[in-house]
Amino acid sequence: MAKVVVTPEQFSFVNFDAARVAELTSKIADKVGLPADAEVRIEIDEGSPLGRTRLASLDPITITVEGGAFENAKVPRSLSDASVIDVVGRLLFRAKDRLSPGFADAPDDSDLTLQQHTAWDTYAVGRCDRAGWAPARKRRIYHFRNRHGFTDVADGVFERLWNADGLTWADIEAACAETDAARVPAGG
Amino acid sequence: MADPKKPRPAFAPWDRRELPGAFDVEETARRVGHYKWVEMRLFEALGGWVATVPELDVKLRLGTHCYKHAWHAELWNKRLPELREMNTERLTVPPNDEFVAFMDAITEPEGPGQTLEKLVGVYRVLIPHKIAAYTYHLNNTSTITDAPTMRSLRFALGDEFDDWRDGEMLIQSLIVNEEDVQRAATHQARCEGLIVKAGGIAGPGSIGSVDVPTPQEVTA
């Protein structure tokens, strides 16, 4: 079982439970198939209601989130298990990909285009879906369309990425090239 | 080619309209004033209820129907001066106190758990009675002299039938057990009893009479 560290341990701006975040992360890490000796750190900026998330490093595997990403949208400042699972699942699948040879060529997250981010997210979240984590498919296809175009080609690529396994970075790049080629200029 | 100067009948052979109608100008204005009054009370109630019903589909439908009945009130308001009633407020009145009591019963349900009662009063009692009164008027007024009223009645009836169906389907979707059946029937019976006492939306004679004159005995 992966070792999980959540910071801060105590929260003062929000009503989050670090132990609960750790518990969920540990279960997800096992299901994703991370090595048993992997260390996973979740760093939460509780002072922000915004929702940015990042896979900040691979050794240890570190996910940084702004507090809004884990927040229950209906009950402000309280923890949403579903949001934790959604974020951690997606980013741990990405971490697993980065640790695999097929993604050795993948640029750093900060150098990815929005299209590459979203395509890779789709690949990750599709696997979350098969792991039983109910990841709001319609929301994901809307994200994908925003970045890759509102076209039948984009929808087809989304389906392939969502249902895929064993992809490489080259496959992600090819998917982005395919949607880019079919893209209609906005407003045209 | 036909000779354009050749006289033709003013009423084409297929135009069977005749002059006589059951209502004179004053009676028509009286009825139209009552119609306007009830459409106003109805649209006000539907609008007021929107915020009190939790069921989202019902909430939206009430908002749409509110406008339709307001528009009917506007049609009637415009018709009144054309029927020699320049002070439209004078005739915008209920037909009698009993009808006021009926409308009070219709608008009495208020709480979030009373959507069924709200709908039953309107769609199983009031709107069917409006359809009846409007149909009676449409079929009995002069097809030549009172054409404008007939036009408005047809527009209104189109909405009434659509709204009746919408409301009935919503009611059927809300009635899920015997208790709901009883609630609906109880409220309907109460409201129906009150409108019978009032005689309809235009008072007694709203839909004419079904009395058959008793044949007089012939004596030597």
């Binding site: 701006f13 900026d45 509780e46 002072g47 922000s48 209601p49 915004l50 929702g51 940015r52 702004e66 507090g67 949208a73 209906k74 009950v75 402000p76 400042r77 929005l114 709001a136 498919r137 319609k138 929301r139 809307y142 994200h143 369309r145 925003n146 970045r147 509102f150 893209r183 209609v184 200029p185 906005a186 407003g187 | 649209f43 006000e44 109630a45 539907l46 609008g47 007021g48 209820w49 929107v50 915020a51 009190t52 019903v53 939790p54 989202l56 909430k59 939206l60 439908r61 908002g63 749409t64 509110c66 406008y67 307001a70 528009w71 506007e74 608008t107 009495e108 349900p109 208020e110 979030p112």
Partner: protein, 273 residues
């Protein structure tokens, strides 16, 4: 049925959760947190999390439409027809009924849009600030607060969302916002026209109404969220507001109020840091 329904009695099904104004405004977290990024960001397709921000904004619009529908409906019920200060002209009631229909349609559009964008109804908490502005017992203050201030904000928001839809290439979002925007111009114009007609011979009442509008406008400048700058998350839609009966001076005043609201919000953030 009673007159003037308080906001706590607004009826909702189990999907909806209400958030009080105190909850919303007393959140000690700043918009930028400890990361150093302060202030709201403009919603553009290449902005971080733009799709999720658009979804959240659209849900806010949806619950606002429900409240606008409820407010218009209550105005049909709450006031009798007449010339008194707590009465309204018959034609004003007809306009409110028309607004009921329009807002019901906007709810329907918003529901379909939510499905398109992958948002569940009730996914986000609801604030009842729009309906609260519609609770005023003076019908002219109510109309001014709702139809001029809040529906004016709706013009700004829908125009921004329409532009977002255009630049993102989202044909459904652009189409829907365009149609709703047309209706909102009508609603704001109704408010402008009735304010002028009813207060034509009552300058004190007009000034009270405009003051109430200013309060609502400033409150819902949302800490500088709305403005005229290119970087404003919600851009003041000057052209559509003028179509709806706002004078140039009135739009300038709203722009100034927005700037003030932004400066006050930044000062609060700095004080809390």
């Amino acid at each position: 049925m009673k007159k003037i329904l308080p906001p706590e009695e607004l009826a909702r099904d189990a999907r909806f959760v209400r958030l009080s104004m105190e909850d919303r405004f007393n959140d000690r977290r700043g918009a930028g947190g400890t990361s150093g990024r302060t202030g709201p960001m403009k919603l553009t397709p290449d902005a971080p999390q733009a799709p999720d921000r658009a979804r959240a904004l659209m849900h806010g619009i949806f619950v606002g439409e429900i409240q606008a529908l409820e407010g218009a409906g209550r105005t049909c019920w709450d006031f009798e027809v007449g010339p008194g200060a707590d009465e309204v002209p018959f034609a004003l009631k007809l306009d409110m009924a028309r607004q009921c229909w329009d807002e019901a349609r906007h709810c329907e559009i918003s529901i379909k849009l939510s499905d398109w964008m992958g948002t569940e109804l009730g996914e986000f908490a609801e604030s009842t600030f729009l309906y609260e502005a519609a609770c005023n017992p003076d019908p002219i203050l109510r109309l001014t607060g709702v139809n001029r201030a809040l529906e004016g904000l709706a013009i700004d928001v829908f125009n921004t969302m329409r532009e977002f839809g255009q630049s993102a290439g989202d044909p459904v979002l652009e189409f829907c916002e365009d149609w709703m925007l047309a209706d909102e111009v009508t609603h704001v114009k109704m408010g402008s026209d009735w304010l002028r007609r009813i207060t034509e011979n009552d300058p004190d009442r007009r000034e009270r109404a405009l003051e109430f509008q200013r309060i609502v406008d400033k409150l819902f400048s949302l800490g500088g969220f709305r403005g005229e700058g290119d970087d404003s998350p919600i851009r003041l839609a000057r052209r559509f507001r003028e179509m709806a009966g706002f004078t140039t001076e009135e739009v300038d005043e709203i722009s100034d109020l927005s700037k003030q609201a932004g400066e006050e919000a930044r000062a609060r953030l700095a004080a809390n840091a």
